[in-house]
């Protein structure tokens, strides 16, 4: 009712906005929305744009010209003739991690780190690495000052909050205090707060040695030692990017599908952005069903379909009426579900993207999503 409409075009056109971040829980349409925003920013608003995508669907990646996985922006072809430049890239988290390591250490050290099985496990599988590396990449792109606008997609986490939390978790982790304790219980003695348990640490590390074998401990120790020189770097960079996200040049869009889980996540996330003083521009409600024959009530349509069944002779109309009834029901359920967000965050502007009849995997599809803006 009183919900303000989110003016996406105004955001895309605003020269003071340099970063747009699309957040939301898994599968709601973050990647699609990010790509559609980027195409619109370049074509309609003449802004030199780069879009950082994460795990785009294969055909969407192809449409954006992302056939080579080189972790750098590529020019998108097939745009309208008067469009500004649009580049797209697909995040390669392992490579981004490798780049950070290379930048912070000498080549010999870096080689050691790359060869370490713990580094290999962490750089490709550790939960939170992807979020961290997305932020890292965003920081790098921003520092290049080559674009008017950077549109950022976020990883397919189960929770939208992971995007904000994971980097801090990872840098705490890389801080390695725990790990150093584990490896050197003697050093943890003295005045440390861990004094109380240092005896069990000794026992623990003996046990760990027994269970895992000495080779593993050597690797682990090598890993910590090698990363030691880089701890500060990781933390500093994460904090720096965090500050950019809080700046007025950034606009967060929370993407949600009108489904209970997604809306619940969106409510949490909007609350969290406010608590962290991050600029929430609004909610993008994606895949909203449209009911063109809005005047026909679901129950009336269903009853009519039944009359036609009895009457015979109009099977197609009866099916269409049933399809319509389901659609109208779905619209009502979606409205009820999204009402939860609107009640929790009454002032937050909202824009709706209609559910498309088929998957979105080409520029035309992205443009047609753009028309909702």
């Amino acid at each position: 009712m009183g919900t303000p409409k989110l003016d996406v075009d105004a955001i895309l056109a605003d020269p003071a906005i340099r970063i747009v971040v699309c957040c939301g829980s898994g599968g709601v349409g973050k990647t699609t929305t990010a790509a559609a925003l980027a195409v619109r920013a370049a074509e309609r608003h003449g802004r030199r744009t780069v879009v950082l995508t994460i795990d785009p669907a294969r055909r969407l990646a192809q449409a954006l010209g992302l056939t080579e996985l080189d972790n750098t922006p590529r020019m998108v072809k097939g745009l309208q003739p008067d469009s500004a430049e649009l580049q797209a890239m697909m995040l390669d988290m392992k490579r981004t991690f490798d780049e950070v390591v290379l930048e912070h250490t000498d080549p010999k050290r870096a080689e050691e780190i790359f060869a370490n099985p713990f580094y290999q496990a962490m750089s490709s599988t550790f939960s939170g690495t992807q979020e961290y590396m997305a932020m890292e990449k965003l920081g790098q792109l921003r520092a290049r000052e080559e674009w008017d606008l950077i549109v950022v997609d976020t990883p397919p986490s189960r929770s939208a909050l992971d995007f904000l939390d994971a980097p801090a978790r990872l840098s705490r982790f890389l801080d390695g205090k725990m790990l150093r304790l584990l490896l050197a219980p003697a050093r943890a003695g003295g005045r440390s707060v861990f004094n109380l348990v240092s005896a069990s640490f000794g026992l623990f590390s003996r046990t760990v040695t027994k269970i895992l074998g000495a080779q593993l401990l050597t690797d682990l120790s090598g890993f910590v030692g090698a990363l030691d020189s880089m701890f500060g770097g990781f933390r500093e960079r994460a904090e720096q990017t965090y500050r950019v996200l809080q700046a007025p040049e950034t606009a967060f869009l929370v993407v949600a599908a009108p489904e209970p889980d997604a809306v619940r996540e969106a409510v949490y996330f909007a609350g969290r952005l406010a608590a962290d003083r991050m600029p929430l521009a609004g909610l993008v409600l994606n895949r909203v069903v449209a009911v063109p024959a809005a005047g026909l009530a679901a129950d009336d349509a269903r009853a009519a379909a039944e009359r036609l069944d009895e009457l015979g002779g109009h099977p197609a109309t009866a099916e269409v009426l049933r399809v319509h009834a389901e659609l109208a029901d779905q619209r009502d359920r979606q409205a009820a579900v999204s009402g939860r967000f609107l009640r929790a965050h009454p002032g937050v502007p909202v824009v709706k993207i209609p559910a498309q009849p088929a998957d979105v995997h080409d520029l035309d599809g992205l443009r047609s999503i753009g028309t909702s803006f």
Partner: protein, 325 residues
């Protein structure tokens, strides 16, 4: 329900494995399907265990319960008697249990946990974490009391398609990390079960491009790893009505008039538009269905539940799983 008599081992119906691993792209319905399968396989006096490993408390949500502790608790009663127990496996707890079992590291273990060391040990080496989780699953699958198996079937609400290969392929990961020692022995035992006919990995998908693609990728990957694939479960399908039919506004006008509804221009144009969009989707779904059939695995379809998932609809999904597999 003729299946019971004809095909039934103690493991149940057309689902011969003892360990059912349910994976799929995020949000496709893994937890829902795992719950429905655990309920269905517990019918007629059987006992099943439904396990989750991702600290999501998805099972508790599905059955509308308080968060589950690290304990096997009865969570539902199946029709014809029989029970479903549930367990939320936690890597830390599993490590403590493990340390306790092999090294009697009781109190010291708890102290370690207080300072976060256990959390640390289970996260620094993702391979170690997966060994612990799958080790617990293996233990439940093979557990016997008085020479009888405790569970007729164990159903795992597994990690999503993107991580399933790595999760189930624990030996490779741990072999890199731990080259000798009990962890290695343990992970080899797990790997053997996961590659035996006792295990089946079922893949849940929607009739949408990305989940179908990820299902195909996961099946490829698991096949290469030698892990047996079970059934492809297509969730939340809609009836493919109007497929290929030509629906004109003139037809609709006659139909609406016959049904006694107003056949004004807006309604006609609106309905025609809705029909066309539905047909577009049905056509896209048909081609995805064909892709799924091409995977060479049995395919079961579950309908979209308009009212969402409830205790009752979970039961009806279970019916479909049993009768159509």
């Amino acid at each position: 329900m003729t299946t019971r008599e004809s095909q039934d081992g103690r493991t149940g119906y057309g689902w011969p494995a003892r360990l059912h691993v349910v994976t799929g792209k995020g949000g496709t319905g893994k937890t829902t399907v795992a719950g429905a399968l655990a309920l269905a396989l517990a019918r007629d006096g059987r006992r099943t265990l439904l396990i989750e490993v991702e600290a999501r408390q998805g099972i508790a949500q599905l059955f509308d319960r308080d968060p589950l502790p690290y304990q096997e608790l009865r969570i539902a009663t199946a029709s014809g008697g029989g029970e479903v127990r549930a367990l939320a496996v936690d890597a830390e707890e599993a490590l403590l249990e493990y340390l306790e079992m092999f090294y009697r590291l009781g109190v010291a273990g708890r102290a370690l946990r207080k300072v976060g060391a256990v959390d640390f040990a289970t996260t620094v080496a993702p391979g170690l974490r997966d060994v612990l989780l799958t080790g617990k699953i293996k233990e439940a699958v093979t557990r016997t009391v008085d020479g009888r198996r405790v569970y007729d079937a164990v159903v795992l609400d597994a990690p999503p398609t993107g991580r399933i290969g790595r999760f189930l392929n624990v030996t490779a990961e741990t072999a890199r990390l731990a080259k000798v020692g009990p962890i290695k022995t343990q992970s080899e035992g797990v790997a053997a079960i996961l590659r035996s006919p006792m295990t089946a990995v079922h893949v849940v998908t929607l009739l949408e491009e990305m989940p179908v693609q990820e299902s195909a990728d996961a099946i490829d990957e698991l096949t290469r790893l030698g892990i047996p694939i079970g059934t492809v479960i297509v969730n939340a399908t809609r009836p493919p009505v109007l497929a290929g039919a030509k629906v004109t506004q003139a037809d609709l006008r006659r139909g609406l008039t016959a049904a006694g509804l107003a056949a004004d221009k807006e309604t006609l144009a609106g309905l025609a538009g809705e029909a066309k969009a539905y047909q577009t989707r049905v056509a896209a779904e048909a081609s995805l269905r064909a892709d799924l059939q091409g995977l060479g695995r049995p395919v079961v379809e579950l309908p979209v539940l308009p009212g969402g998932v409830t205790a009752q609809s979970l039961e009806s999904l279970g019916d479909l799983l049993l009768t159509s597999a």
